[in-house]
Point group: C2
Chain length 153, copies 2
């Protein structure tokens, strides 16, 4: 083919030629999570306005508690866990779809005995995530309740 | 929550409140394929620049043979099949990722005894697919070979 159309073969939850990366390095409020850049990050994929990534969280691990202007489209493809969306905590498992709208404080958690793996699609050009301070947490997550108990900083 | 963040719970390969729709009605060159609009098509999801859809093809069915300017990001989440990308045919199964770059003539096929289900992400604003004529097929798919044998019109 004279273009970059392609199939990236999977072997379970790894992909041919796709590196398993650290989640991110700017923040510390996460645990046992890896990132795989599947589509849209390389120079070859300049036609894509969005990036497709796979995130995998080990049992009891979690993503950063954060919020930002850009939305997330998420499809769970492995295991079980839960997601904090502002003042709610919702159980999630394979094939569930999650929409995270702008400015929602969110955090993904794997269950105690399960991995949680999900496809997360974002705009190529997007704002940087912010870590909520105590005021933002009180306003969006609440000062008590299930979501407040669930979040990790 | 004061926003439209949400979890759409799945029950296998259907989703709560998500209608199973016809694939499309403008063309006839497809067989046994359904569409589920997961995110980005409703007025509630105006913040999303992309749409997340699930397509499901029954055994021996296939999508339209088509090409267009907008790219596709695809993740297989059910079954087995193959994809024609111009002059190649590639086997695909669960968790494989497919990138379809602009102007690639493409068609998804389910295997004889398997469903093929995949998440397909596209720009919200995009050009209409075109059905290749014989000249385009000869140029892109070729006048003979595995891809030429595989395509259905």
């Amino acid at each position: 083919m004279a273009n970059n159309s392609r199939v990236i073969k999977s072997d379970g939850f790894t992909w041919e030629g796709v590196e398993k990366k650290d989640y991110k390095t700017e923040t510390t409020n996460f645990k046992d999570i890896s990132r795989f850049s599947l589509l849209g990050e390389g120079p070859d994929d300049h036609e894509l306005n969005m990036q497709t990534r796979y995130f995998e969280i080990k049992p009891e691990g979690y993503s950063s508690l954060e919020y930002h202007r850009h939305p997330h489209s998420v499809v769970i493809i492995r295991g079980k866990g839960s997601v904090v969306l502002n003042n709610t905590v919702i159980s999630i498992s394979v094939n569930d779809v999650v929409f995270i709208s702008p400015e929602t404080v969110h955090q993904f958690h794997a269950d105690k005995n399960d991995y949680l793996g999900f496809i997360c699609i974002v705009d190529r050009y997007r704002d940087k995530p912010a870590i909520p301070d105590e005021d933002v947490i009180n306003e969006k997550v609440g000062s008590e309740g299930a979501a407040r108990d669930k979040i990790r900083l």
